[in-house]
Structure formats: C-alpha cells, structure tokens
C-alpha cells in the first residue's frame, strides 16, 4: 500500500481511539490484521431512534489510493434502514461515493454513518422495500427497525408479537433470519410472508 495511505490510517486510527466520541463509546475502530488495509468499525445507535442502545459493526477496507478515494465501508451487523441493504449491508451515502473529500477521516465517516442512522434519506434508497415501508407505514418501520436492533445488535427490549410470528415461521422449517426478512418486507402480514416464502 502506498506510504501516504498507511501513514494516514495510522494517524486516523489514533485519532478515533483518542476522540471524545470514542470515550463515550459512540464510535470505535479495531485493526483486522496488522497492515492497516482492513479495519473493523463500531458505531452506537443514536438516541431517540429505533437504533438506540444498539452496536453496529462495520467492515472498512482502505484502498491503495486512500485518502484520494473513499474507504469501502459496509455494515456487518444486519440493520433495517432505507439507505442500507438489509441483505448485503451495502451503504448508500454520498460521501462514500462521489462526495468524498480527501480531508475526511475515519472519524468523520463513522460520525456521518451515525448521522445517517438518525436521518434516513428514503428518496435515495439502497433498500427499496425498507424505503417504501419508511414512507408508507412509518410506525411499522420504526417497530421493525427496533426489532432488528434487538435481534442483531444487542438491544435488550424486544417485541413479543414479532417474535411470536418469527417463531411460528421457524416451526414451519424456515430459518430465523429468512423469516425475519420475509415478515419485515411484508409489513408483518403472516399470510403474505408465507406466500412469499413458499411460492
């Protein structure tokens, strides 16, 4: 890797570790391997959102041409959000694409992602199913996103109605995550979810 990329990532790594946000456990980074090409990010779900109390893990890949090109970031933790793919974790965020600027750092990227969790852009979606639910049935979107935070991202508070429906599908031999995806994308309508799974 180019020297400038390694030097920068080393500095940024320290910057994140020492930042106020890291002290408050809002963001964090860890090394994966020892060559600074790949890192593991961590962001806390922002307060007053369905992600509150959750911890999301991110995969950060640093390209050779960093910082002239953005790092490649995706969610490892499954999340229900209009701008993040519920399947792959791919993120739709302008600063990770054409709006990247060389003065941005790991810290600003992680903080931007946290801000994205608090302020979704349903008109520029990555996951069309989530975005439609966000616009057409916002209350249900909030419940679903909160339930996903419970199942995947360590939020203690669950939702007994949703877990019963998931368990019901699991009794029919469907995998847990598959059941969750089917129910979430069918607005928790059992019949439609069954139809989608078994057709």
């Amino acid at each position: 890797m180019a020297n400038i990329a390694i030097q920068r990532i080393k500095r940024e790594f320290k910057e994140v570790i020492k930042s106020d946000e890291a002290q408050k456990c809002a963001i964090n980074v860890e090394l994966v391997g020892d060559d600074y090409r790949e890192l593991r990010g961590e962001i806390a779900g922002p307060p007053d959102t369905p992600y509150e109390g959750a911890t999301f893990h991110l995969e950060i890949k640093v390209p050779e041409t960093y910082p002239f090109n953005p790092p490649k970031v995706k969610f490892v933790t499954k999340i229900w959000h209009p701008n993040i793919s519920s399947v792959t974790g791919a993120i739709c965020l302008d600063i990770l694409k054409d709006q990247w600027a060389a003065a941005m750092t790991l810290r600003t990227v992680l903080l931007s992602l946290q801000a994205l969790l608090a302020a979704a852009e349903p008109d520029d979606p990555q996951d069309a199913v989530v975005a439609r639910q966000f616009k057409e049935n916002h209350a249900l979107f909030l419940q679903t996103a909160q339930y996903w935070s419970h199942v995947h991202a360590g939020v203690p508070k669950g939702n007994s109605e949703f877990s019963n429906k998931v368990r019901c599908l699991m009794d029919m031999g469907v995998g847990e995550h598959q059941a969750l995806v089917a129910l979430s994308s069918c607005n928790w309508d059992m019949d439609r979810a069954i139809e989608q799974l078994f057709s």
């Binding site: 030097q7 920068r8 080393k10 500095r11 002239f68």
Partner: protein
C-alpha cells in the same frame, strides 16, 4: 451555499494567525524556535503536543505541511498532496475541506523564513504533463509558392499539393527503405515501372504547367 462554506474555514484558520499575533513582532526568534520544535514534534507523530502543530498540518496527509500551499478558502496542504487530489478529480476540483472551488492557479505558496529554497512549490513538484500538440500538415502553405492563384483553380491546388509528395515518397522509399526488393524479382520490376510512369506523369505535368 457558498457563504455557508466561507464561514467554516474562517473560523478554522483564525486560530493560527491569532496565535502568531499574540507572539508579537518583538519575540520573533522565540516564535521561530517554537515553530521548529513543533515541526520536530510533528515528525515524530506521537501526538502528545498535537494541539500546537495541528495548525500547520496538511489537511490531506495530516503531517506537517511540506512545500505548503494555501487555498483561497484558507486551507493548508502540501503541494504534492493537493496536486494528487486535483489530478484525481480533474473535472470537479473542490477544496478537500470545505468543497469550495479551487484550482492550481488559485493556491498561494507559503514561504517560511527558514526554508532555503524559495522556488514556487507548484513548479518544483509533480510537473504538469505538457500539452500534446502536433503541428498541422504544411500542404496548404506550400501552394502560394507556385503563384497559381487565379481563383478558379482551387481544386487544382490539392491535386498539385499531393502530387509532388507522392513522387517524393516513392523516391524516399526507393532510396532509404529498409528492404528494397532485389533486382530481377517481380516486385522490383513493378516498382521500377511504377516510378517510371510517375516520373513521366510528373514531367508531363510540369511541362503543362510551364506551357499553360
């Protein structure tokens, strides 16, 4: 939108001039030794005294700026770093910090007192590739020499222009060509015949030019 961006750098860049102003002109030597300390601290990169040197760090490599330039919006960069950024997005040249429009011509090189080399960093470091420009074909300029300008013969000009060149190229190939065909072969015969025909045509044409 632009005014919003302009506010940002001003507040950021205020810190360093304010600090220098408090040092005052009487304590120049003190501030100089302080800044050299800062530079060595920055090179170590231990970040202990980062509060002081961060004012003079390049916004791209985050190291103490070398061959420093400053944008009109007040942001400091190493010239090599900024140059590479501008090359990465030639069609969308914006400040990496505040996204104001910037260009090579609109950055100001900074010359510290201690630096021996006062050359403009923009000239020294990655030299811009020269423009790829080729001269146009000279055949149009060749014509007036014949004094052939009676207006009606415009199409003739092209014919005449190309014709002598055709002859020359034939002869050039003959003399300096890498592999002239061996005498006696069919190709030799053909080329010889061709050149004789062309020569005859050229002579006829010149004759016609002189007579008409």
């Amino acid at each position: 939108m632009s005014s919003e961006h302009q506010n940002l750098p001003v507040s950021a860049s205020l810190r360093s001039p304010a600090r220098m102003a408090t040092a005052g002109p009487s304590s120049t030597s003190d501030s100089r030794s302080e800044s050299s300390n800062n530079a060595s601290g920055g090179a170590e990169g231990n970040g202990e005294d980062a509060t002081d040197n961060s004012n003079f760090e390049c916004n791209i490599c985050l190291d103490t700026a070398k061959d420093a330039v400053i944008s009109m919006c007040g942001h400091l960069f190493c010239w090599p770093c900024l140059h590479q950024w501008l090359e990465t997005r030639p069609n969308n040249q914006t400040c990496p910090v505040c996204k104001a429009a910037i260009s090579r011509e609109k950055v100001i090189p900074l010359y510290g007192r201690g630096s021996g080399n006062q050359q403009d960093p923009r000239d020294k470091l990655p030299p811009r590739p020269p423009g790829q420009r080729t001269e146009p074909e000279p055949h149009n300029g060749f014509m007036p020499g014949f004094g052939f300008g009676d207006g009606g013969g415009f199409q003739f000009h092209f014919g005449i222009g190309a014709f002598p060149f055709g002859i020359f190229t034939t002869f050039n190939n003959w003399g300096a060509g890498a592999v002239p065909p061996a005498p006696g072969t069919q190709q030799y015969q053909e080329e010889r015949f061709l050149s004789q025909v062309l020569m005859a045509m050229a002579l006829l044409f010149l004759l016609w030019l002189i007579l008409v």
